[in-house]
Structures are given as C-alpha cells and as structure tokens.
Amino acid sequence: MAYTEEELKKELETKEYEYGFYTDIESDTFPKGLNEEIVRAISKKKNEPEWMTEWRLEAFRIWEGMEEPEWANVRYEKPDFQAISYYSAPKAADPNKSIDDVDPELLAMYKKLGISVDEQKRLQNVAVDIVVDSVSVATTFKKTLGEKGIIFMPISEAIQEHPELVKKYMGTVVPKTDNFYAALNSAVFTDGSFCYIPKGVRCPMELSTYFRINEGGTGQFERTLVIADESSYVSYLEGCTAPSRDENQLHAAVVELIALDDAEIKYSTVQNWYPGNSEGKGGVYNFVTKRGLCEKNSKISWTQVETGSAVTWKYPSCVLKGDNSVGEFYSIAVTNNFQQADTGTKMVHLGKNTKSTIISKGISAGKSQNSYRGLVQVNSRAENARNFSQCDSLLMGNECGAHTFPYIEAKNKTAQIEHEATTSKIGEDQIFYCNQRGIDTEKAIALIVNGFSKEVLNKLPMEFAVEAQKLLEISLEGSVG
C-alpha cells in the first residue's frame, strides 16, 4: 500500500490525544567553545558507551590538526569555532510568543507552501495548544517497519540499541580524517538518523525525517547512516520543505550510505535553510559531506534540490567499489540575492562495468554565484566504466554568475566518459511570450525554471516534487525587476 504523506499527517493528528502530552523539556546549554572536555561532555550527556567517546575524541584530535578548506568558489567570513555552543537542548516553545509576533513575510511564504497553522507555529517555536508527542506516533511507525526488520531511529538511540551495526559501518564511507567539517562532525555530532534495511527487504514506505522524533530542532551537526543490506531497497527523504529560519550559522552534517550487494538506495534532499536577507546578511553556512559506498550490482541515487543557505559546500558522492554498480546524481541548485553555492559530486569508479550519471541544473539570480564542481575518477582496474555528465546553467539578470569545474581522471583505457554543458539565460522574449498568453512574469519564470529543471524534478518522489516546484517559485520571487 502506498502510504501517502497526507495519510501520515492524519495519523499524526488522530494519535495526539491517545498518547497524551510531552512536556519534559530540557533547557541546559553547554558553554561556548570546543575542547576535549566538551567532547566528553556531549558523549556523557548522550550516555554513550566508552568506544563512542573514544571515537569522538580521536576525531577531535584529527580536527585540531586540520585547516578549513579554501578551494571552493565561495567567499565568507570563517566561523569562530570557539564561539559556538556544541550542545543545546531542544528549543522550548515560548509561551509568551504568539503567531502575531511572527514575521508576516515568513507567514505569507508558509501560506504559499500550504503549511498548516499548527505546523507554522511549530516551525516558529510558538506554543501550540496541543503539543504532539511525536515519540508515540513514531512508535506506531516503528511497529510497521519492525515487522519487516527495518530499523529506523535517531542515531543516538542506535548507538545504544544496535552498537554492532553502528560500530561496523560508521566512518567507513566518510572517515574521520576525510575533511575538516567531517572531522568536526565526528567529534561533536548530537543527533541524526540511523536506518538499516535487512537482506531482501523492500522498504514499504518512503522514510522521511519529517516523522522522526526530535525533528523540531535539526542538529547543527547531524549524522546520518543508512545501510541497505543485500538485495534490499530503500527510498529516503531528507529535509522539510518549510523554510526554517534557523539561527545556527554553521551546519556541518555527515551522511553515509552503504549499499551492499544488489541493494538500492535512493536519497532525496530538499534543502531550504535560511539563505540570508536580500542584502546578503545572515543565513546558514551549509558544509555537508555526503557519500555512498556501492558494493556489487548495487545502486545509489542522490537527488537534491538546494534552494537555501547563504553558502553551500556539498558534494554527494558515490564510491563504485563493486562490479556493475551504479551511481547517480541529480541536482537542482538555486541561488538568489547574495547566495553562494559550490556543489556537485564525485563518482569514483573502482569496480568493473560501473556506471555513473550526473545531471546538474544550476539556476542563478540576483547577485549570486553558483558553481558546479564534479570529479569523475576511473581507477586502473575499473574496466568498461562509463559516465555521462550534463551540467546546465540558467542565468537571470546580469549580475549573477554560473561556473562549472568538471574534473576527469581516467586511468583505464576502456573508460567512456561524456560531458555536456550548456548555459542559457531567461530571455525577455520568453517572458513576453508567456505574458502575452496571460501568464504574469513571476509565473512565467517559475514555468521556465521548472521546465529547465524537469529532468531532475522527475526523479523526486511525487509529493516531494510538487513541494520542490513551489519552492523553486518562492526562491526566485522578486528576482526579475
């Protein structure tokens, strides 16, 4: 049975009375700064076993010896890592704040996205009349999934309940030493998701973080681990399409995917964190490391719609280790105003007959800079590796930039690598044509942008695609004067 999001929402509403209220809200926050004591304290707070604490400490020591990378085509003021508090309990609803106190501009945006008033309140940290105890709802979910042996829980719980799986796989795809932000994340991550699909199981529903407990306060340092055992399948949706105005300046998440023999993982993301205002003030720095490992005959597809954040540094990648494995990357990145995005993928072909596809659509407006950066690497033993890359850029106005940095390293003569790239501009003639048919300029731009992004939008699960389309419209509002 196809479990739709609508049904889930209904379930959420009907369950709330049955399971009562959740009122136990922690309120402690750690002092600012980062040192071994803080790392230990985070681990202790989470009641972690000794091995986890040691793992974090090792990551911290590695991080201390690293420097923040500067090779990306982005400019920003580097965060002061000693000025951040690395543990903060979930934000409590402010009983004195009402919906009238919320920025009307933001409310208008919510309305366009079709977000309910209760949901709006939750997003804005406003006390809702009835606090939904999501733990209970998640439990009913767990039951359905549990019958199939699927494990889907916060990673902190997985460390307690399934240490053997976490120990075996965490850090194997993105090692602690991988890069500056990955090392930092390994030391201080506070939350995230864990998912395990057993052998031969096809996960019956799209797994979405939306319904996972504790989703309200998305961690600054999220850690996600998805393991698809042999011949299993899972589709995972990340991110909420509501434009959360998160005050956290820095987000450094790590996502690791493991597809064992004959398994398939589809990972879809819609990212729309606060991009800063139209003058380029504020906004989130999104420095994310996402990578998947493909064993024999397996497949990993990354699909992303990136519209938010002031600065994005993100390269969801595939290591095609097993023979005949397939890696895919479908991306739409929108930048407006002063946003900067440096995003793309790495496809590392190690096994024989491995195949990868890269479709990247970059849309730049305002004074933004949008870069595609991709690496296709074919190892000497990867006989008959194939790659197809297509990078299209769409420009709006005269003050934005689109850049493409494709890197190709082929060490095997049998490799077939194709790269196509186009750059186009939304023309006044296109807009006038739409206007003449009764379509106003804003709608015309949305239509043109959606057409441009269609190949990628089609890869998203249905309900996600509809929201992603609306999001593209909203992100580009006011971009043509």
Partner: protein, 250 residues
C-alpha cells in the same frame, strides 16, 4: 472593439509608428500589409503591450477602455491574442502544460477556479482536431525543435484554446507550405464569429485568399497610407508597393 487613435511609438528614441488611426469592429477581418520595416510588427507588439516600445502619443483602446496602463498579461486577459512571427522556445515545458497554465491564469484573473482536468482534455482534443495536430505533438517542449510550419500551427492552436476577442496574426503565413496554410486558415475561419475580430499582418496576398479580409490597410513609414476592400490586396500583389510609396510622398 479596437480603436487606435493617432498612435506614435518609438524604440530607443527611434520613432517607428507615426500616427496610426485604426478602428476594428466585432465580426470584422482587417489585413495590414506593407513593405519590410513599415512598422507592421511594431504595431502588433504595441497593441499587445510589449514594454520595449514606448508610446509617445495617442491611444489604444479596447471596448472603450484605454490600454495604456495595462500590462501585457492583463491585455491577454481582456482578450488580446498575438500569433507571433517568431514564436520562442521554452525547453522542458510541454505545449499542454503551457496551455493549461495560460488558461488557468486567465481564469484566475476573471475570478474563476482552475478548469477541471476532464474539461481541459476535452478542449485540447477538440482544438487539436480542428488544426489537424497530432496529439503526440502536444507533449513536446514548446516550440523546441518545431519546424516553421509546426510553430505557426501551434500558435493558431493556442488561439483556438484561448478564444480571444481580438486576434492579431503576425506573418502567420511565412514558413508555411500550401497544405499547412490551408489548415491554419481553415482553423482561423472556424474560430471567426460576430463577437470577435482578426487582424492579419502579411506581406503577401496568398493568405488573404483563404482568410478573406473586410478591409485592407497599407502601412508605410509608420502610417496607414491607404485603406480599401479586399481588392486592394490584389492590386498590391500585381503592382508592388512602389506606387503606394510614391503616392505617399506626393
């Protein structure tokens, strides 16, 4: 229906229309002919409200209402349709999706709900048959990779879908072979009624054999220098434009 009074328009300070007067009533077909660069396409664009043209003097009124402050999409909502001489491509947007958006935007402007999908499909079926359009064609990206003839036929298909009050056909005959011309003209004739009007802009009298005009106007140097019945088109075909130019300068 349409009343143009002493219309002057320029682009980048170059005056192109220099005092046009034209009145088109419901149920009429007007042909506007004239040599290259006489201002025919500019006139079409100005009626449709293209912003790069600046109206420096005079008025364009539709049903007694001055269109000066109306944006192009508002004019479209009031029933002005322009069949473009060079229709633009919109990659990734199918003809069907484009039409659905256009129709629903116009309905929204009139305070109506979206057209139900079954009605939309029925309308598409009806109008594509009228223009002998293969339905597969409708799922292709708008004008992308279309032949010249396909583009023009698609323009008239859109006109059929939108049922405008005033349709302006800007050189719809160029790029059409004789069969396509017959189909397009046939479509226009079937859409004609006592409630709407058509302005046909053309170089040649060929199209006018199929879409028979009530009035023919000759545009030269941004002015209508001669008007007459359909026989004027034949005369122009025979004698060319030179005698008109001479007459105008005298």
């Amino acid at each position: 229906m349409l009343k143009i009074t002493d219309l002057h328009a320029s682009v980048e300070d170059k005056e192109i229309l220099r005092g046009i007067n034209l009145e088109v009533n419901a149920g009429e077909v007007h042909a506007i002919m004239g040599p290259n660069g006489s201002g025919k396409s500019t006139l079409a664009s100005v009626i449709a409200g293209k912003e790069e043209f600046e109206v420096t003097q005079g008025t364009v009124a539709l049903d007694g209402e001055d269109l000066e402050d109306a944006a192009p999409e508002e004019r479209a909502h009031k029933g002005v349709f322009l069949s473009f001489q060079y229709p633009v491509e919109i990659p990734g947007v199918s003809v069907t999706n484009f039409m659905k958006t256009a129709i629903n935007e116009s309905r929204k402007a009139r305070g109506l709900e979206d057209m139900p999908a079954n009605k939309m499909l029925k309308l598409i079926r009806e109008k594509s048959e009228l223009l002998e359009i293969d339905r597969k064609f409708l799922s292709r990206s708008l004008n992308e990779g279309f032949s010249g003839g396909e583009k023009k036929r698609n323009e008239i298909f859109q006109m059929a879908m939108l049922e405008p009050k005033l349709a302006i056909l800007d050189e719809t005959d160029s790029g059409l072979d004789i069969d396509a011309l017959r189909i397009v003209a046939n479509g226009v004739n079937k859409l004609k009624s006592s409630d709407n009007a058509v302005i046909v802009i053309t170089h040649y009298q060929r199209l006018l054999e199929y879409i028979v005009p009530d009035y023919v106007h000759v545009l030269h140097n941004g002015k209508i220098v001669k008007s007459g019945g359909k026989e004027l088109a034949l005369e122009l075909e025979e004698k060319g434009y030179d005698w008109i130019k001479q007459e105008a300068t005298v």
